[in-house]
Amino acid sequence: MSDATTQQEKFPFGIASVSIGEIERRVPPGEAPPLPPNNRLAFIGKSVPRFDARAKVTGASRFTVDVKLPGMLHGRLLRSPHPNARIVSIDTSAAERHPGVRAVHVVTDIVGRAVEQVPETDPPQPNGVRLPRALYAGAPIAAVAAVTPDAAAAALALIKVEYEVLPFVVDLEEARDPNAPVVFRSAVAGSGFAGGVAAGAEVAQQGNVRGPSRIGTRGDVTKGFAEAEVTVEGEYRTQVQTHCCMETHAAVADWHADGLTVYLSTQFTAGVRNELAAAFGLPRNRVRVLVDAMGGGFGSKSGAGTYVRAAIALSRAAGAPVRVVHDRHEEQVDSGNRPATFQRLKIGAHRDGRLSAISLYTYGTAGTATGAGVGNFAQATYECSNFDSEQYDVFINAGPACAMRGPGNTPGAFALEQAVDELAEKLNLDPLALRDRIDASPVRREERRIGAERIGWSRRHTPGADTGTIRRGIGVAQSLWGANVQTNASCEVRLMRDGSVELRSSVQDIGTGIRTVLAQVVAEELGLTPQAITLRIGDTDFPAGPPSYGSRTTASITPPARNAAYKIKQKLLEVAAPKLGVAAGALDLRDGRVFVRAEPARGLSFREAAALLRTDAISAFASRSDDYGGFRRAMGDAALAQNDLGGVQFAQVAVDTETGIIRVERVVAVQDCGRPINPEQIESQVQGGVLMGLSYALYEDRILDRPTGHVLNADLEHYKIAGPRETPEIDVVVLENYQGESATDAYGIAEPANIATAPAIANAVYNAIGVRLRQLPMTPAAVLAALGRAPYGG
């Protein structure tokens, strides 16, 4: 940012519940002026009802699974019945002849899982094609498109595949054995993001073990531990969690003369457009990706998986649109998951609580993907100058993992936050007091203060002090997540001569409410009501918006939305100025009027002003400018803001010492996301984060059968998810935290709301029964084993 073109502006700064001051920032030209705190705004900071709620409660919303195109065919995938097999031959002729079948496609490209860098050495098919090995039960082999789903299913059964069945391994511990069957025969490229931090590209690989990566290593831990007066060390295990989107992965592909249109249940229309253009050799302007209503992604719908490419290939071959929708079994087996982890964590501290060293050793499995790490939680949450991490990926014959809500940091927090709890006890310090000493963040400090008051922390008893069959306890844990920004994020605001306004961007609303939020931001700037703004989003024919992952949508797209609206405002005021006989700078917009600031009664209605436009419409384009304070780190299309996001959560549990059942009675979640734009929608997301965390803590576990290699609970019956009766009272507090970093100063919330819940529950369980559970999920069997009341643990 050059000083010649930037200008100095004063922004509100600080936490509203503490005190709001001011900070001076240099801002680039063209930015909307500093926005005052929410209490001085009309729509930003208000719980404007969700725009698409009416369509959703009436069933009118169109999800991808609801898309019907004329002549649309139904596609289905054939999947491997073996956890590891080479495809010796494949004969699709009978399937092709089956009545109603319009196309058959054999999967040749590998998408989603890791790929061996040296070309796979399997002999080619008779036709010269090399087919990838099926590396897990459920791996896609081929696909069929037919006029009915039944015909497609019947045709799948007619595809003859000769498999050479190979030895396999699906157990994390067994796979580490140098003599275990090898999943990949040569080194794979690393870029998997399931652990929250991209897996290293140049990392050693031996057998099924790839690593170590030494993310965040700094200082001298040997010296740090030598200086430590108190140390704690523990081993923690977390399970595989699956995303369980209620709308399964779904695509309708339409290959036509002009190019390709794909209706897709996706978290990133623009990214998928680029991916598909490259994969199918089309210019980007010939590929259109659309999503209207979207039934949940949680990280698993970020790219174009095999099913999407199969749908496109079938559509191209059949000359008709093709719909491919995962069934629930496919969804649970082959649409991503959160890796399982083992973590050995050691912390050294001085008597006063200051940390002298943290050492983290982990291995985990992302199945047939890379990136089973535990994020940056241990390295970044507390002050400690000596940190060492050694993290390994272990491959098993299972569906590839991918990012899932708070990837890496969610399992990472389960270990670190219990270790800190343990350290506090050893130091004879209150867990909150210890955190006050080792956590420099003023935001977390305020969150601890508010949460402690709400949960009634002062009545927390010493661990294990409760007696009786049902024992209660309270625990706390923190969350940390990077304030991500997509710098490649654009939108357009249009004003028509009749006064109608619309915002256009390819950004998608996956249930987080960005439609409503964008309307609030534009309405605020133009002095209209949010309902007066039309949102045209979820379509790559509009300017490329950000992805809806990494809790970055709001931070990325609301500043350009406001800046584009600001440009429209300036143009409108210029048009209105001559009519009102003042300079444009003397005018403002509010309550649907253009008015003279010094003489508010004098003005025009917004519509009257718009009617003065020389052309039928005016348009303003804006993309995400850099944060005013600059970024901590910029990486391609994305960047990391100077501040972090996070929260502090408190859980109150009741543990039945006879049945081992843990019941979470209450959760207090105090979170921050910069400037909150729609408090009720934020509350919804925080409740969702807490529930997904609670469910992770107590119930969810993908179960792979070691002898046969199949997922045994690829359903919503034995894959157990917290339901209405598991829902505790959830008290949500969201700070207003002004940083003066962008035109809206708003950040995301989805992931930070998920990270602290499991460790808060674990610490509460420890407080209740005096025994620490270091393995997820905390099942009744695990509780009874911990209490010495059952011979074996879960």
Partner: protein, 179 residues
């Protein structure tokens, strides 16, 4: 109700065996949202598939297709059922009410209004089923407790975790429906 005019298939195995129909498409009539509609579907078509397919009522969602998530909830004679676990051919003369039939014209059902007011919606995929169960509850029990609401939706899964707002919305809707 089975349309009596349909041609029975000739698959009569034994003497005196009752007539069988299918396995190909057969004509059935369904009374849906107060209107009798006909569809040509094979006997193995579930009600959820018939509604979403032939009848183009896509408001009813299929989440698991095994009765484990209740996203597909509709009413059969005002009783909530998982439409993925009943066959369309088996509905007979029972009245089917789907999410599309809950509001009266532009006037939303109190549960729908309350869902909007309480932001009991995130991605919205489980919402139609959830609304149907909550609306059935307050029709049956005008004074539901929080526990009653939890029971009514105990078979529903919402991965976004909207339950707290669904509880609040349903309790508010019951109050609103009385006043």
């Amino acid at each position: 109700m089975l349309a009596t005019s349909l041609a029975a298939s000739a698959a009569v195995a034994e003497e005196n065996a009752p007539l069988s129909i299918g396995p190909g498409a057969v004509a059935i009539s369904l009374r849906v949202n107060g209107v009798v509609r006909t569809a040509e579907v094979p006997p193995h078509t579930t009600l959820a598939e018939a509604l979403r397919g032939s009848l183009n009522l896509t408001g009813t969602k299929i989440g698991c297709d095994r009765g484990a998530c209740s996203a597909c909830t509709v009413w059969l004679d005002d009783i909530p059922v998982a439409s993925c676990m009943v066959l369309a051919i088996d509905i007979g003369d029972r009245a089917v009410t789907t999410i599309e039939g809950l509001s009266r014209g532009d006037t939303l059902h109190p549960v729908q209004t309350a869902f909007i007011a309480h932001d009991a919606v995130q991605c919205g995929f489980c919402t139609p089923g959830m609304v149907m169960s909550c609306a059935a509850l307050i029709a049956r029990n005008p004074n539901p407790s929080l526990d009653d609401v939890k029971t009514a939706i105990s078979g529903h899964l919402c991965r976004c975790g909207t339950y707290p707002h669904v509880f609040a919305a349903t309790l508010a809707a019951a109050k609103a429906a009385k006043s």
